[in-house]
């Protein structure tokens, strides 16, 4: 089976700091792939590299065999990549459902003049989109917030709102950056179920997460980073037994 995403020898340096060094891995379509590692291991940096927020210093990223490194985030969005953020990136100046509707940006007629003059088809399309966004909010468990303003929602709900926005893109590949961070155990289990649902709907999931129970529960494959380098890669069982991983997580003498 062809790899959906292929990362080879990827590196980025910020001045003297080598945040990601020569990392290589591949992700098959349809799986849940997790990236774990201690704080500062370079997980979010890796996400930022793949989704185009940072440009790599060296190395290659291929999506369906096509080189995509160095492309801007909006071009990558066009190719079916979606993501959420570790530190929330919700537009607080908009309502919750509008945040989700923005996710469908690329599927809409974005013409300024037509919008200002309110061309007939546009309004109808927008109403359909609103219904679709409401369904998505339902899907992620935010049905009660369909009429809410984003800035009136609790933290846990906003985390899921980001997932709904990403899903509104109808992505092939979704990058979830610590979707359970800051959530209580009950909310964490809900997000766990939600990620499973997303994966089952046919979207390839790439997950960064500190909650090991969730990672082991969901992942088909796991990449372990430490100090920007690849420490191990494999199934949950393989990674768990890897002595380097045990050393990195529990200290060298454990």
């Amino acid at each position: 089976m062809a790899r959906l995403l292929e990362v080879s020898d990827l590196s980025i340096h910020f001045g003297g700091v080598k945040a990601v060094q020569n990392v290589s891995f591949g992700i098959d379509a349809g799986i849940v792939y997790s990236v774990i590692g201690p704080n500062g291991a370079g997980k979010t940096t890796l996400f930022n590299l793949i989704t185009g927020v940072y440009k790599p210093t060296a190395g290659e990223i291929r999506l369906d065999g096509e080189a995509i490194h160095g492309r801007s985030p909006n071009e990558l969005a066009r190719r079916g990549m979606a993501r959420t953020f570790q530190n929330l990136q919700i537009c607080m100046n908009m309502s919750a459902i509008e945040n989700v509707m923005v996710g469908a940006h690329l599927r809409l007629d974005r013409n300024l003049v037509k919008a200002a003059l309110r061309f007939p088809g546009l309004k109808r399309r927008d109403r359909e989109l609103r219904d679709e966004a409401a369904q998505l909010m339902d899907f992620v468990g935010l049905g009660q917030y369909v009429e809410a303003r984003a800035d009136s929602m609790p933290y846990g709900a906003l985390k899921r709102l980001e997932i709904a926005r990403a899903l509104a893109m109808k992505p092939r590949l979704i990058f979830l950056d610590e979707p359970a961070a800051g959530l209580n155990p009950k909310e964490t289990i809900e997000v766990d179920h939600l990620v499973r649902k997303v994966a089952d709907s046919g979207v390839t999931v790439v997950l960064v997460e500190h909650d090991m129970k969730m990672v082991m529960n969901l992942s088909d494959r796991i990449l372990v980073l430490d100090y920007g380098k690849k420490l191990a890669e494999g199934t949950g069982e393989e990674v768990r037994r890897n002595p380097d991983v045990i050393a990195a997580y529990l200290g060298a003498h454990a």
Partner: protein, 309 residues
């Protein structure tokens, strides 16, 4: 959507009734000026309030429109409408050329660049005396529409009132569209809007150009209405005045734009009785607004009475 429809109807109703209750020609003239400013501020608020970008040079664009309407018909015999269109086109090109490289940078470069651009336009208008009349300004030929000459204040009133209602309607449409959502999203979180596919630079340029064209067209209208242009049209302080209207009325509020324009057009007139102290009183009132209504008049009131704009 309902509350905005009511808003448009209220604005239209006020505009229809006003000329019949205005006590004299002075008030009619004041209303025309308010409406012209309101249209400019609507465009500027799309840029500042909704997209979160600042312009300190919008009077410069207004000046280009005004002088296009003065110079082209006077020296080259162009039809006023064609001249108006040419002014708007020139403004669009200039605004686009300046905005594109600026928006690729992050930070407050746009404020500096627009400030500089406005000042350059003002200086050009002052110095090119053989075309523009220099600091003295120049008269503007009358605007003819379909063989019918617009001359009285009352005729201008209806034209400007119609333009204002259309502008309010178009602004509300734009905000509640995919384009408008993208604009608000890049204000709310630039990186989030990028990863859902918004070409941030393109959108910023588009709204900057559009608001500049609004200013240019209204510059042309003002020129024909007053029948005279001077470099003061493009003065830096005029740019600041326009930004102040946005802020006082309420950022990211369509009806706030109207309130800001009406209030700050009327206020200097109302303060004329203070003889020499009017600037001080004006400043004090602005400070009061910023302290007690920091989000602007309409958003603050809307929040207070639990109604969204």
């Amino acid at each position: 959507m309902k509350s905005t429809t009511i808003g448009i109807l209220v604005v239209a109703a006020i505009l229809v009734v006003l000329p019949f209750v205005a006590p004299n020609a002075y008030y009619l003239d004041l209303t025309v000026r308010m409406a012209i400013n309101a249209i400019i501020v609507l465009g500027l608020n799309l840029l500042i309030g909704f997209a979160g970008q600042i312009s300190l040079g919008h009077a410069g664009f207004l000046g280009i429109g005004a002088y296009a309407s003065a110079v082209l018909p006077t020296h080259f015999g162009w039809h006023p409408l064609v001249a108006m269109g040419a002014g708007a086109a020139a403004t669009a090109v200039l605004a686009g050329l300046v905005a594109r490289p600026i928006f690729k940078l992050k930070g407050h470069y746009l404020a500096m660049a627009t400030l500089g651009l406005g000042i350059i336009i003002n200086i050009a208008l002052r110095n090119e005396a053989q075309w523009t009349g220099g600091p003295d300004g120049m008269p503007v030929p009358a605007m003819g529409l379909f063989g019918f000459e617009l001359s009285t204040d009352r005729q201008w009133y209806w034209v400007v009132a119609a333009l204002l209602v259309i502008s309010v309607w178009a602004s509300l449409n734009l905000i509640d569209s995919p384009f408008g959502r993208a604009l608000r999203a890049l204000h709310g979180s630039e990186v989030a809007s990028q990863v859902v596919g918004v070409d941030v630079v393109r959108y910023k340029v588009a709204i900057f150009v559009m608001s500049a064209v609004f200013a240019s067209l209204m510059g042309s209208v003002t020129a024909h209405y007053i029948g005279f242009v001077s470099p003061n049209f493009a003065d830096f302080f005029h740019s600041i005045e326009l930004v102040t209207m946005v802020v006082v009325g309420g950022m990211a509020s369509v009806f706030g734009s109207l309130v800001g324009a009406v209030l700050l057009t009327a206020l200097p007139q109302a303060l004329a009785t203070f003889e020499g102290w009017e600037t001080v009183v004006f400043g004090a009132i602005l400070m009061g607004f910023m302290i007690f209504l920091p989000k602007g008049i309409v958003p603050t009131l809307a929040a207070k009475f639990g109604k969204g704009d």
